[in-house]
C-alpha cells in the first residue's frame, strides 16, 4: 500500500511538472514579455528596458528561467496579475472557496441521487424503474449544462420567482454581513442561493454516475458469490445490501475522480451564468483582459485540484480494493 501510494504521488508530481512546463512554454510564446507591457505607455530608452529585463531575469537562458518559474510556483508565487495589479495568488485565493463549495455540493447531489437510483434500476432490471432511470440519465447526459441552468432560471426565478438566479451566500461569513438575523437563516439562504447552480452543474455528473452505478450493480449481481448466496436462499434484498452493494461501488470511486475535470470545467460556465465570484468567472475575465499570468495561474491551480482529486480517489480505491496495490507489487 505504501509503495503504491508513493508511486501514485510520484506520477502525480510528474504530471504537475508537465503542466508547469506547458504553462511556461505558453507564457514564453505570448506576444511581448512583461517588460514590454510595462513600458508600453512610457518612453523608455533601450538601456532602461535592458536593465528592467535583467532585473526580472528575462535575459537569462530559457532553462534557468523555467527553473526559477518552477521554484516560484513551489514557493506559492504564480506570477503577477497586470490587470489586478497584485500577485496572482492573492487574486485567486478568495475565489477558491466559492468554486470548491459549488463543485463539492454538486458532487454530493450527484452521488446521493445516482447511487440509490442506479441500484434501484439494477435490482429491477428491464422493469419500470430501470427504464425510468435510463431516461433520466439519457436526458441528463444529452443536455448542455448551461441550458439546464437557463431552464432552471426560467422556471424557478422568472416564472415562480422563488429561487435567486445570481450570486451566492457564503456560510463562512458572519450573518450580519448579509443582514441576516441568525446563523440558521444564513445557512438557509446559502442553500437557497446554491440550489440552482448545484443542480445545473450536478445533473450531467449525476446522469453519468447513475449509468455506471446501474451497470456495475447489474454486473455484481451476476457474480458467482452472489449466485451462491441465492442458492443458499438468502433474500434478494439482503444480498443486495450485504453482499452486492459495496463491491459495486468500486467503479464509482474512479469515475468520481475522473469526472472532477468536467466538473471544474463546468463550474466555469455555471459561475458565469449565476454570477458567482469563483475561479471560473475570474478565469473568463482574465482571458478577456489578456492577463496571461493570471490565466496560467488559474490553469495550474485547476489542474492541481484535478490531479490531487484523482490521486485521492485512486488511493481510496486501492484502500477499498486491496487487489490493486497487491497487483502493483507482484
Amino acid at each position: 500500500m505504501l509503495r503504491y501510494t508513493l508511486k501514485r504521488i510520484f506520477q502525480a508530481a510528474f504530471t504537475l511538472l508537465g503542466i508547469t512546463l506547458l504553462t511556461f512554454v505558453l507564457l514564453e510564446l505570448m506576444p511581448g514579455d512583461p517588460v514590454s507591457v510595462m513600458v508600453q505607455r512610457q518612453d523608455a530608452s533601450p538601456e532602461v528596458i535592458e536593465s528592467l529585463r535583467a532585473r526580472y531575469g528575462l535575459n537569462r537562458p530559457l532553462y534557468e528561467r523555467y527553473i526559477s518559474y518552477l521554484g516560484g510556483i513551489l514557493r506559492g508565487d504564480l506570477g503577477y496579475s497586470f490587470y489586478w495589479e497584485s500577485p496572482v495568488v492573492e487574486v485567486i485565493k478568495p475565489r477558491i472557496g466559492p468554486t470548491l463549495m459549488l463543485v463539492l455540493s454538486s458532487y454530493l447531489f450527484a452521488l446521493t441521487v445516482s447511487i440509490p437510483l442506479g441500484v434501484l434500476a439494477a435490482a429491477n432490471r428491464n422493469k419500470l424503474p430501470d427504464h425510468l432511470s435510463r431516461l433520466i440519465s439519457l436526458v441528463g447526459i444529452s443536455t448542455p449544462e448551461f441550458w439546464v441552468a437557463i431552464l432552471l432560471v426560467l422556471v424557478f426565478s422568472v416564472q415562480f420567482n422563488y429561487l435567486p438566479a445570481s450570486s451566492l451566500v457564503y456560510p463562512w461569513r458572519s450573518p450580519e454581513f448579509y443582514g441576516y438575523q441568525s446563523h440558521l437563516e444564513l445557512y438557509f439562504q446559502t442553500a437557497r442561493h446554491l440550489f440552482l447552480p448545484l443542480i445545473a452543474l450536478g445533473t450531467a455528473q449525476m446522469a453519468t454516475l447513475m449509468r455506471v452505478e446501474r451497470s456495475s450493480t447489474v454486473e455484481t449481481l451476476q457474480e458467482e458469490y452472489v449466485q451462491l448466496a441465492r442458492v443458499y436462499g438468502i433474500p434478494e434484498r439482503r444480498i443486495l445490501r450485504k453482499h452486492a452493494f459495496r463491491p459495486a461501488q468500486l467503479p464509482i470511486i474512479t469515475l468520481a475522480g475522473m469526472s472532477l475535470s468536467g466538473a471544474l470545467g463546468g463550474s466555469v460556465v455555471i459561475e458565469q451564468i449565476f454570477q458567482i465570484n469563483g475561479m471560473g468567472t475570474l478565469f473568463l475575465s482574465a482571458v478577456q483582459s489578456l492577463d496571461y499570468q493570471l490565466v496560467m495561474g488559474i490553469t495550474v491551480i485547476l489542474a492541481t485540484m484535478f490531479v490531487v482529486g484523482v490521486v485521492v480517489t485512486d488511493l481510496a480505491y486501492a484502500y477499498v480494493d486491496p487487489r490493486i496495490s497487491y497487483g502493483e507489487q507482484s
Binding site: T15, G18, V139, T143, P144, F146, V268, F283, F306
Partner: protein, 325 residues
C-alpha cells in the same frame, strides 16, 4: 445460444457491418437514435445553400421564412415584415404568431426557424471536423507510442496525461486566447477541441496497438524487413481501428456539446453566425421578455445529442463482442 447465433452468422458470411445494422434495427432506442441522427444530418446537408446566407446571418431577415430554409416545404403565405419597433414575433402556436415564422423571430426580426436549421449545419460540421482531427492526431500519438514502447511511449503518454489534467473547456479557451490574441472564432474552438480529444483516442488506439504488435503477422512483416512506418500503416492500424471508430461515434455528440458551450461563453462561433450556443448566449439577455428564444436552440442541441448518443450506444452494443476478443 449466443454461440450458435455467432456460428450461424459466420457460416452465412455476414460482414460485421451488416451485423451492426441488424442490431441497430432490432434495438428500438438505437433505431430511434439513428432516425434522429439521420434527420439532423440531412437537415444540415440539405438546408439551402443560398446567396442570402449573409443576410440570414447578419441582416434584417423578416421575409426569410420557413420555405427558404427548407426548400421542400411549400409556404406560400407571406405576412407583413415585422415592424422595426417590435421585431419579435412569438412562435406560431402562441398568440400573435404566424406559420410563416414557426418559431418566431429574434431581436433583429430574423426568422428563428431558419437560424435553427442553419445552426444544425454548424453543430454537425463542427462535431465531425473536430472529432476527425482529434482522432487523426490521437491515432498518430497512440500508434507511435504503442508500437515503439519504451521512453517514446512514456514521454507521449505523460504529455497526453498532462493535457488531460487541465479541464477541457479551460484548455480550449486558453488555447484560443493564445492563438487568436483576443479574437475568438469557431475555427480556434474546433482546433482546440481536436487537441483536447486527442488523448482519449491515443489511449484507445495504444492499448489496441500494444496487443496487435505482438501478433505473428507483424513479426513476420518485421522479419521480412518491412519499414516501421509501413508496418504501422498497413498492418497495425487497420487491425486496431474498430474501437476507435466506435468511440468516435459517441464522441461527436460530446464535441457538439462542448463547442456549443464554448459558443455560449463567447469563445466559439461569433454572432451573427446562427450557432445554437451563440444563439443561447444572445437569448439569455432576453430571457425575461422573450423566454421562447432560449428554448429552441437548447431543444435542438438536446435532440441532436440524444439521437447521436442513442445511435452511438447501439453501435457500441452491436460491436461489443468484437471489441472484447
Amino acid at each position: 445460444m449466443a454461440t450458435t447465433q455467432n456460428l450461424n452468422q459466420e457460416l452465412s458470411g455476414d460482414s460485421s457491418w451488416r451485423q451492426v445494422v441488424r442490431h441497430v434495427r432490432n434495438d428500438t432506442t438505437a433505431f430511434f437514435g439513428m432516425i434522429v441522427a439521420v434527420v439532423t444530418l440531412s437537415i444540415a446537408i440539405f438546408a439551402t445553400i443560398d446567396a442570402n446566407l449573409a443576410a440570414l446571418t447578419a441582416g434584417n431577415l423578416g421575409d426569410y421564412t420557413l420555405a427558404n430554409a427548407l426548400p421542400f416545404l411549400e409556404n406560400p403565405v407571406r405576412t407583413p415584415h415585422p415592424t422595426e419597433l417590435d421585431p419579435f414575433l412569438p412562435p406560431a402556436f402562441a398568440e400573435g404568431g404566424t406559420w410563416d415564422h414557426p418559431l418566431g423571430t429574434d431581436s433583429l426580426g430574423r426568422d428563428y426557424f431558419s437560424r435553427i436549421v442553419y445552426g444544425s449545419r454548424i453543430s454537425i460540421g463542427v462535431g465531425i471536423i473536430a472529432t476527425t482531427g482529434g482522432m487523426i492526431s490521437g491515432i498518430a500519438f497512440g500508434a507511435v507510442g504503442g508500437y515503439y514502447g519504451g521512453y517514446v511511449d512514456d514521454l507521449l503518454m505523460r504529455f497526453m496525461e498532462t493535457l488531460q489534467s487541465i479541464p477541457g473547456l479551460v484548455l480550449i479557451i486558453v488555447f484560443t486566447m493564445f492563438v487568436s490574441g483576443g479574437n475568438p472564432d469557431i475555427r480556434y474552438a474546433v482546433v482546440g477541441m481536436a487537441i483536447v480529444s486527442a488523448p482519449t483516442f491515443a489511449r484507445i488506439i495504444r492499448s489496441r496497438v500494444l496487443s496487435v504488435r505482438e501478433l505473428d503477422y507483424v513479426e513476420a512483416a518485421r522479419a521480412a524487413g518491412v519499414k516501421d512506418r509501413n508496418i504501422i500503416y498497413r498492418h497495425i492500424l487497420p487491425n486496431s481501428f474498430a474501437p476507435v471508430l466506435v468511440y468516435s461515434t459517441l464522441h461527436v455528440s460530446g464535441t457538439i456539446l462542448a463547442v456549443a458551450t464554448l459558443s455560449y461563453l463567447g469563445y466559439g462561433a461569433q454572432p451573427p453566425t446562427p450557432d445554437w450556443g451563440a444563439m443561447l448566449n444572445t437569448a439569455q439577455g432576453q430571457i425575461h421578455s422573450h423566454p421562447w428564444l432560449s428554448l429552441w436552440p437548447g431543444l435542438s442541441i438536446f435532440f441532436t445529442i440524444t439521437g447521436l448518443n442513442l445511435f452511438g450506444d447501439g453501435i457500441q452494443d452491436a460491436l461489443n463482442p468484437k471489441i472484447r476478443d
